[in-house]
């Protein structure tokens, strides 16, 4: 077990290191002169020169990379060029919106998808299965930003159940915030739930064909009992992978949704920064998101080991 964790941790750190190099090269080396890019067409020569020294562009690429990395480890992400505040402050505020939104969406998608998948599988070929899987097919095909637009049209404008956007801030109370996050979370969650339900269904169907289910049935368990006691845990193994992928997808996939609902989250911040060519902010947020993905993958690997005893001895099946 210890060996397994250590190996995963090592690969985590390695992936992160390479990822930072890729991000650095893409943002600071490939565009040529980042300062000129950030100033855009309007920048005067003096202003560009000032920015260049502020960014430390007079140093070599390698030195800049090292000082960026060491700064980040210390928690110093630099100062935003457009907002003129430390990037770390910007990010902290936005994280408090984005992460709850992601978790909310993930919970929604899971509690919809798993029962739908199980019910569909146990009624395979029946009317309910056809109906649910047909709905899932449509769900997969809906772009989440379009779904968000329709939701706003329906629930905010016509029914007036929810506000069309904005975020009251956590000081306004938990319920208020939850309400503000509900429509965005649903628009994020539904297409994901559709994918997850399909995976869950096929996973359950596959597991129900396994020999150990037959053993359980021979013990006297009914079909439902065999599914619940032996099938579910095994069927969840592939679903875990998808859940891990979805977490990272949702975290970054909020970019457009957060803009539609005017939520002050990470996605909206990164999008605004790209529009304003504030590379300092972009660089930091992308790195953070990659970090989140890698950490989630690591957590999923640990969860695997918790679900599957075969992995605890470091054997990959």
């Amino acid at each position: 077990m210890g060996h397994y964790i250590l190996k995963r941790l090592l690969s985590l750190v390695l992936t992160l290191l390479v990822a930072t190099v890729v991000i650095f090269v893409m943002i600071e080396v490939v565009p040529g002169d980042p300062a000129a890019y950030m100033m855009g067409l309007s920048g005067s020569t003096e202003a560009t020169e000032a920015l260049r020294s502020e960014l430390g562009l007079n140093m070599g690429a390698w030195d800049r990379y090292i000082s960026w990395i060491t700064g980040m480890i210390k928690g110093d992400f630099g100062t935003s060029y457009t907002y003129r505040v430390p990037v770390s402050d910007l990010i902290t505020d936005r994280t408090l919106v984005s992460v709850p939104l992601t978790i909310y969406a993930l919970i929604l998608s899971t509690i919809i998808a798993i029962p739908v998948g199980v019910i569909s599988a146990s009624r395979r070929g029946g009317f309910l299965d056809t109906l649910l899987m047909g709905a899932a097919q449509v769900g997969v095909a809906i772009p989440n930003f379009w779904f968000a637009i329709l939701m706003v049209l329906f629930f905010s404008t016509s029914l007036r159940w929810f506000s069309a956007g904005g975020f009251p801030g956590w000081d306004a109370g938990f319920l208020e915030c939850l309400k503000a996050l509900t429509l965005p979370a649903i628009s994020l969650a539904l297409p994901q739930a559709a994918i997850l339900a399909r995976v869950m269904r096929s996973s359950v169907l596959e597991v129900m064909n396994e020999d150990y289910i037959r053993t359980a049935r021979a013990k006297g368990l009914s079909k439902g009992q065999a599914l619940m006691r032996h099938g579910l845990r095994n069927a969840l193994i592939p679903v875990l992978t998808i859940l891990g992928l979805q977490f990272s997808f949702l975290l970054a996939g909020g970019i457009i949704i957060e803009s539609i609902f005017s939520l002050p989250g990470l996605g909206r911040l990164v999008f605004q920064s790209i529009a304003q060519r504030d590379l300092i902010v972009v660089k930091s947020i992308v790195t953070l998101l990659v970090l989140a993905v890698v950490v989630i993958t690591f957590v999923v690997d640990l969860l695997y080991a918790a679900v599957d005893p075969r992995l605890r001895e470091g054997k990959r099946m």
């Binding site: 809906i142 990272s248 992308v286």
Partner: protein, 286 residues
């Protein structure tokens, strides 16, 4: 052979969109570059099936061209993914089977690395840094298709490498490259085709997302994503402007997914083998 229903529906939807996209190359009901302000905001009617937008352009004509752009971007992007991903996967699998675990390991870690980047965000970044436009959208979407195909090819190939017919080919002195293309590629073509349709549909959504935020296909070329973006502010008095392009994306993606599912049912060797075995058993018993 009886084709599954989902395949038939999917193939019909896909064909309709492909025909519309092809037709738009030579003919559209109205010219979408001509602005007829007098005709603006017409609800769907007999002249304009899907109405007109704020410049008086015919929405149906714009959908046709928008679909063409989406199909083109997605087709090339998935093509890039396959062109690089499939040989990479074949090579990694062959390397692993011939003791080159390190090469395989490096290739697959590289794959994981691409997976670690949130794809939509990276696509937005790439198009932002290198400039918006169809070509950069293709590259941004294409890059994220490479690991998908590489991983799938490698997985399928590794499963086949331990088959006895591959061993028989090796006993005949055939090298790994020859075996990869002669024996392995044809036998994983099924799963690759299925995956390609799925990736194609994902690419269409990705292209729509990029255009929605203004980083994909540039004006005056119509694109489904940008049409949705523009519709957003007019949704209260011209809802068809939001419904129609969105509906077009959904039907296009739905068609591709249904076709992919149907193809899987037809081609999936595991499923087919199981069926064949069942049939054999019942034949033997009857």
């Amino acid at each position: 052979m009886k084709l599954p229903l989902n395949f038939i529906i999917g193939a019909i939807l896909t064909t309709i969109f492909l025909c519309m996209a092809l037709l738009s190359l030579v003919w559209t009901p109205y010219d979408v570059t001509a602005l007829e302000i007098a005709d603006k905001f017409q609800a769907p009617n007999i002249d304009h099936w899907f109405g007109t937008d704020h410049f008086g352009r015919d929405v149906f004509s714009m959908i046709m061209i928008g679909a063409r752009n989406a199909v083109m971007v997605s087709l090339v992007a998935v093509g890039i993914g396959m062109l690089f991903g499939v040989p990479l996967g074949l090579y990694a699998a062959a390397a692993r089977m011939n003791g080159g675990n390190l090469i395989d390991e490096i290739l697959m870690r590289g794959n994981d690395l691409i997976f670690a980047f949130p794809s939509l965000l990276m696509a937005i970044m790439i198009t932002a840094v290198f400039g918006p436009g169809a070509i950069n959208a293709i590259i941004a979407i294409g890059i994220f298709n490479i690991p998908v195909f590489a991983r799938m090819t490698r997985g399928g190939a590794l499963g086949l490498w331990s088959r006895e017919y591959i061993m028989a080919a090796r006993v005949c002195g055939k090298g790994s490259m020859r075996i990869s293309f002669e024996h392995i590629l044809p036998n994983i073509a099924n799963i690759l085709i299925v995956q390609a349709t799925i990736q194609f549909s994902i690419a269409i959504i990705a292209e729509a997302s990029l255009s929605y935020v203004g980083l994909g296909t540039q004006p005056p070329d119509p694109s489904l994503g940008r049409m949705l973006n523009e519709a957003q502010t007019m949704i209260f008095f011209a809802p068809w402007l939001a419904f129609v392009p969105g509906g077009a994306i959904v039907t296009m993606v739905l068609g591709l997914n249904l076709m992919g599912d149907g193809l899987r049912d037809i081609l999936d060797p595991k499923l087919r083998q199981r069926k064949a075995r069942e049939m054999e058993a019942s034949n033997a018993a009857s």
